[in-house]
Symmetry: C3
Subunit: 471 residues, 3 copies
């Protein structure tokens, strides 16, 4: 992961007190060039299967990035002007105009993680020699277009250059995984791996739930209208994912509720769900029971279970109708963990095969619930700060609030969780700098010696993710 | 706002690491003397209309300040001894005795924002040459009394001296605004402006709700027993406020709940409210619907809407019975924002005329809900840290937790929100120092360059408030 | 409390910026040797009554310490291997093997408070010259065994060496206090004091509730099936505790709910509770009413009331069945305070005899509810950071979030709250260092002068606890 830092300051994000900075620099030097493990993310497997060149600065960096879109919108920039497609097929700006609109508002990102990622992608990955401004927008657009046509900027070459050892995509449980299959026999076999994401089949309130369950039946030859066979269908699909290298499943839910219901109750929920007749409370029960079922399958097949609980999805209904989901209108909400996970943990939490990695958007749960839970249950690990908290401040708050009670060994290292391929090295670099700075503080006040700190830093940057995800 | 700092240290509240302090000092020098915009506060319009001298140290600085009263009470000082009037007309201490009681306990405020404000008011505004102690109490009382009789300590002169460009008061929707009207033709016309605060008419659980709605009918010639005419009555009252310079409305609610109900349901709520027959849940619905109605009126007339949600009012019933409200017994509670605001935002959130500034007492919502919401919805801005969080620590936590996700451009600058006129320069000064110190950290770790930091500092101290409140 | 620091760094936990560290060192020197007040804890009174030697390193330091056990378990160490007894009488590891297992995993505690306490106990109290590692485990086990046989390591000698002025144990309301009685006539009379903990009698969901109420009847000659006599029985038991030096009661509840119910409702709850027929909501009402009753008794007898609200107990049912409670599976949950305490405070909060000290595991309540409440109600004080938050980070967050709104005078100083006798000086030392570091920050940015800071530091380390607990 050693890249030219371009216009980026080599000490960025490190502590400012000179004594601390010296310690942090040493720790950072020790870890900066470690390989990247990216066990949770949202890049497109097609990129790596086809290895086709990317098509331009705006398409790659701006239009698909909901972190950028939302902030621009909050200051009055219409998504049309950023080239974001409309479901009604209406006209939107072309790539160069979208790029110039972005450049005209890039000052809005001052001090935000998006600026760190964009500056890093441009300065360090794309070889831009200056920051994006309205004045440099045109030239940089051309520069980037030129670079993206070169062989060393194709998707697989970028993974090599970034030092990516393994990268996981996130894939619908119903996906045929053709792009992952296409990698068999290449050097990326078992290194670009899928992740089993069955949300569309576990949430009766998801659009197309019933059709999905029917499709699941066809794929697996199971009668998915019956609960045990519906679970068996998941068992079979998971095996397909595992064969292509998957080591993990991922579950996104509005709350962390789990349940451990008797079979007849499960069947009644399934029948109601297929008929579209569940109340919101019953839908919650369905999702809750499915989490426990998934834990049971993980006990069987060893797949690492990830739970991302908390977001309230699509809070802007007009936006959803006009452009679909993932447009920046997902808003976190309070998340309760200790009572919520009790049914699952009491059912499967003692089993050494289970690993469950927890992600929250509610930082109040770090010290109150998540660190105490991870510091007790062998199956639990804490995922890194997620989404809005994937930031220097979010990382510092996370480390401060979890390390004393969970220890470092119950942390799952770092995930970049991104669909923005070019931001991967930036995101890992921000984490490594944050880790180095945080541990430097513990060294400086004599809570850790430098050797232990170096070993923890390396673990949090590489070893922990390898262990956590059974890579 | 350049005042003599008296016994105050010039570097107070700035970061202590020498490198950081140098950067912070430069930023602070750049903004310290900017004019003051005070777009939300609770000073008395009568002060500015009559420009009569204040009547003494205790009456001005102690007896009306619930920040001081509560802390003294918590350590066993009876409000009688502080001169706080009783509703039963019972005797209370005179001003000099109240002042001496305050002085005897002033050490309780060590390290609190109240001490910052009092020290600043005494040292910098009132020209006291030493801190308040039991030994200096008498002399300082006399000194202050003497100063307050001088012309340069009259209310309007103080505003000039403080560099106040615009100051908003907060006024009942039923207020006749006679004091604001009295300023027409003076240099303070359109500079001491009212704010439309209709809480007594939007909360069916407020004492005197029914009588208020009747009075609203008389004022506006509307039949306020019918929902659309009740809304029309607000429309008319708001126009009166606007004519006297108001640019904003203010809404204080126990929760942030909003609603978007059909007309017949609204009418039933109004009829029930006037009959005093709503359940607590229905009263909450009434308040929730009224917030959405107010947003609709803001879309029409362009008034900026402020929402202060969270406090549990008058938790000490004996105190309320003996001395009335605002005696320090209002206690914040948890506040949920993302689901609560959805009805209002889905109804009016796309309209470019709407501006809604949010204030919370629940800091857990900053990073979890408020920053993500403000970083998406064009209509939303985040108000500065409010009430108990109007403090150096509260400001640091606010800036840390919102800037990465909301950016700086979605912040509404600073409000002093005070009824203590003499604390206005102190409060703005604390904010400016906090902003300078915070931004210095981002400069020192290379997230911002000094030029951008200076421009953001100035915006947060002046420009943002001007823009946010459409001044 | 001046002990040899062994291999511990003298500046540990102090701020790292050189200017701050100088100020912090001065403050720390001023308070480090102050006597220890331990007004809330869980040591065994039998230790002090019999003054028998402790039986070894593992039995003293590892096997009873749920902070250590949980972390080891989270990384796959079975409690059998740590010598933790099983209720089924199954075999578990002997002390030396348990100690070696602990040593083999001691690196897991890097950066945690447990490491601070263990290092301090070994380096400073037990005279170990090196840290615990797998290589030193055997020799240190022998070293500690040898030391524990010496007279200067007997329980009373340790209290003297630690500088403990008063230490409170926590005792069931039904306890006969024979060990406290045995201290009458020794130098420890009225210095090793009991605390009245009636949870088993106030929680109808506690196992053995009904039997406990029957036993209470026998002890006190009250007909405890009738509410007023049940309260009278508590009154009598409390008097017994007071006679042996108790100044405080302690109450542990899942929530902070209080109630002020009419007599007939109370009686119905009691009758239902004794019949085992309460719903969960009624059980909550019973506990809520009992808190208010206990406040009433405190008004009468002057005992200081402590409320520890928040933990969800025994979340691992298999562990509870195998080894009983206090095995690390108690997990905090969100705690609401402002509405919850209103009934109690409105009933008794005005009474100068009442003192109620609040402890939370939900740090979100510090700035939002607890500091505003403590800064208003004369009866309320805030207990120090509790349990998982008894840590350098927990202390910093606590001080930061409470001091501006509650002031320092409404804080109850420090409690070590421990069953680990040897960790007592370590825990007080961590607090004193945290206080010194925190106050140094206020001195360095000119919010406090050094003299006031020294006085506040001494108060938070000693005086505040003496005053808070009426010692």
């Amino acid at each position: 992961m050693i890249l030219n830092d371009g216009f980026l300051h080599p000490d960025r994000l490190l502590p400012t007190e000179p004594g601390l900075r010296r310690i942090a620099r040493d720790l950072y030097e020790h870890i900066r060039a470690l390989p990247i493990l990216s066990p949770h993310g949202h890049t497109e497997p097609m990129w790596f299967a086809t290895d086709a060149p990317f098509t331009g600065a705006a398409n790659l960096l701006v239009t698909p990035d909901h972190y950028l879109l939302r902030m621009l919108r909050s200051q009055g920039v219409n998504y049309d002007a950023l080239g974001v497609p409309r479901l009604d097929g209406g006209p939107v700006a072309g790539p160069r105009d979208a790029w110039k609109t972005f450049a005209a508002h890039y000052h809005l990102f001052a001090g935000t993680p998006s600026a760190l990622w964009i500056d890093h992608a441009m300065g360090s990955v794309l070889g831009c020699s200056e920051r994006l401004t309205p004045d440099t927008a045109d030239a940089l657009f051309d520069h980037i277009t030129d670079r993206l046509c070169r062989p060393e900027f194709r998707p697989r070459a970028l993974l090599e250059r970034f030092g990516v050892e393994v990268i996981a995509t996130t894939d619908s449980a119903l996906d045929d995984l053709r792009h992952h299959a296409a990698l068999v026999g290449t050097t990326w076999e078992q290194r670009v791996v899928p992740t089993y994401r069955p949300d569309a089949l576990t949430d009766p309130e998801a659009s197309g739930f019933s059709a999905g369950i029917t499709q699941l039946a066809k794929l697996t030859n199971c009668d998915t209208a019956h609960w045990p066979e519906m679970i068996e269908a998941h068992r079979r699909c998971r095996a397909v994912f595992r064969a292509l290298g998957a080591t993990a499943t991922d579950h996104g839910t509005p709350s962390a509720a789990t349940a451990d219901l008797p079979p007849d109750k499960c069947q009644r929920l399934l029948t109601g769900a297929l008929a579209g007749q569940l109340t919101p409370a019953e839908a919650e029960q369905f999702r809750a029971q499915m989490l426990t079922e998934m834990a049971g399958l993980s006990v069987e097949d060893g797949m690492v279970m990830q739970l991302h609980a908390g977001p309230r999805r699509n809070t802007d209904r007009a936006m959803l109708a006009l452009r679909g989901p993932n447009m920046g209108a997902d808003i976190p909400q309070r998340t309760e963990w200790s009572a919520a996970l009790e049914p699952l943990l009491n059912r499967y939490g003692q089993n050494p095969n289970l690993r469950l990695i927890l992600f929250t958007l509610d930082e109040g749960a770090y010290a109150r619930e998540l660190a105490p839970m991870a510091g007790y249950w062998p199956c639990l690990m804490l995922g890194p700060p997620w989404w809005f908290h994937d930031s220097p401040g979010g990382m510092r708050r996370y480390l401060e609030q979890v390390h004393e009670t969970a220890g470092f060994a119950n942390l799952a290292g770092f995930n970049d969780d991104t669909r923005a391929l070019l931001s991967i090295p930036a995101r890992h670099d921000v984490w490594r700098r944050a880790v180095a700075g945080f541990l430097a503080g513990l060294v400086a006040d004599h809570r850790l010696d430098q050797t232990d700190a170096a070993s923890i830093a390396a673990d949090l940057s590489y070893g922990a993710a390898k262990r956590a995800y059974r890579l």
